[in-house]
């Protein structure tokens, strides 16, 4: 994208009908480190690649538990992500207080989207520079949504955001018809994996949202690598097998 005379202000349209500031905000999401989400009918899994500012510093937190039944993974300006997570937690807790029941994730993402939209229509505000993968449950089952700085939101079977997300998306699309065990999440992140650089979280029916421990993630990664070696020897290895990991998501069924 190049600079132009319509991109100073979020409330200025370009002649082609674009809001450049909003598009620039979406660029910020693309520059962030990767986050991937994947769902089955009963479970949703989120995985993020944790980048550290330097070798001496700790990793930035990119996965947040919003409520027992909802969690988010962010990509982009993590500060904006933190603030929005606080908003989401507040909405969930207020609903629980009045109704003694969890806020359906579909209704939560609409509130988040409306909040983001406000920032695209006020001259004294700027859009949030963060994309959120929202994983949660409602009466109908498990859902994965992507909330955009533009105020749009979409439901996905699987999605990836952040840098190198296109490779992950292609990988996930290619496997759309087959079973999709948890281990593909690791592949999709597209990096040389060790448990120290990625965070994996899961939520499902009967399973509250939680971040899987580093040790368990390492076991999964190791199992992944051994299987990859095994399948490389025999072509068309059975992808449906699970490494027997109790935390793994159920294979995706045709919805």
């Amino acid at each position: 994208m190049f600079r132009n005379q319509y991109d100073t202000d979020v409330t200025t349209w370009s002649p082609a009908g674009r809001l450049f500031q909003v598009e620039y905000a979406m660029e910020a999401v693309k520059q962030g480190s990767a986050a991937v989400g994947l769902r089955s009918r009963t479970h949703v899994v989120l995985a993020t690649v944790n980048k550290a500012a330097s070798d001496l510093s700790s990793h930035q937190r990119k996965v947040f538990k919003i409520d027992d039944h909802v969690g988010v993974a962010i990509a982009g300006l993590t500060a904006d992500g933190r603030v929005l997570s606080r908003y989401l937690r507040n909405e969930c807790i207020n609903h629980s207080f009045v109704y003694e029941a969890p806020l359906p994730v579909g209704r939560l993402v609409v509130r988040l989207a409306d909040k983001a939209q406000v920032c695209t229509q006020r001259s004294w505000k700027r859009p949030y520079g963060v994309g959120l993968l929202v994983a949660g449950l409602d009466e109908l089952g498990a859902h994965l949504y992507y909330n955009c700085p533009s105020g749009n939101y979409f439901e996905y079977q699987a999605f990836a955001i952040g840098s190198r997300s296109q490779a992950a998306k292609t990988y996930l699309e290619r496997r759309a018809d087959k079973g999709r065990p948890l281990r593909h999440q690791g592949d999709a992140a597209g990096e040389k994996l060790t448990s120290s650089i990625c965070t994996v979280a899961i939520v499902g029916i009967g399973e509250p949202f939680h971040i899987i421990s580093e040790q368990a993630v390492q076991e999964m990664v190791d199992a992944l690598e051994t299987r990859e070696e095994a399948t490389a020897e025999q072509s068309g290895g059975d992808m449906q097998d699970e490494s027997g990991n109790p935390d793994a998501a159920a294979p995706m069924e045709e919805i």
Binding site: F97, V98, Y99, E100, A101, P104, G106, R107, D138, E139
Partner: protein, 247 residues
Amino acid sequence: MYCIEDRFLMSKCMPEWILTLEEQGWYPYVTGTSVIGIKYKDGILMAADTGGSYGSTLRYKSVERMKVIGKHSLLGASGEISDFQEILRYLDELILYDNMWDDGNSLGPKEIHNYLNRVMYNRRNKFNPLWNSLVLGGVKNGNKYLGVVTMLGAHYADNHVATGFGNHLAVPILRSEWKEGMSFEEAVKLLEKCLLVLLYRDRSSINKFQIAKITEEGATIYPAYSLKTFWGFSAFQNPGQFAEGTW
């Protein structure tokens, strides 16, 4: 404590702290008496008479004190009828917005029970209560729920509940005779037994009742009917026996 004159003077600044509700001029006018609710095999059964008393006068004889809320719940109320109508309007709006989402999620009886509790408790804290005791029952996804919210904001859920005089006259009967998984006929008989006791002993009750049922399939409020009463007790014969000239 201060005398009434001093309290009236002090009450100029914050009447709700100094004066009782009656002294402030808050009285219930048209009131309904007990509501009884029980769980049975297919869902919830609720019963109430159709009377609206104006003080000690049994003024209105066809007041429906139980209403269907949304797809999954029934609400019965005793106490001030106009406050019950106000609550119905709040719930109407709540259900409307819930339906407008059209996303496969809906408010179940537990959620509505908690919402009503919030409303009643907040009003009581402002010394402006809704003068009702509410019975909220319903079935959702096979789960039966039956709860009560009082005008003070106290709330609880149980297999059998009652309000007002029902607490004293009906609940003891229910405690001894209610059992899990009663059929519709058994449950109605049990309710009628309680209603009859209330009819004999509660002076604000009238002999015109409604039964309401809610199951997974839906809710029905049956048309009103009367119970047979018996007054032929020997003690009631010749009432002027020991008080010559009485009428």
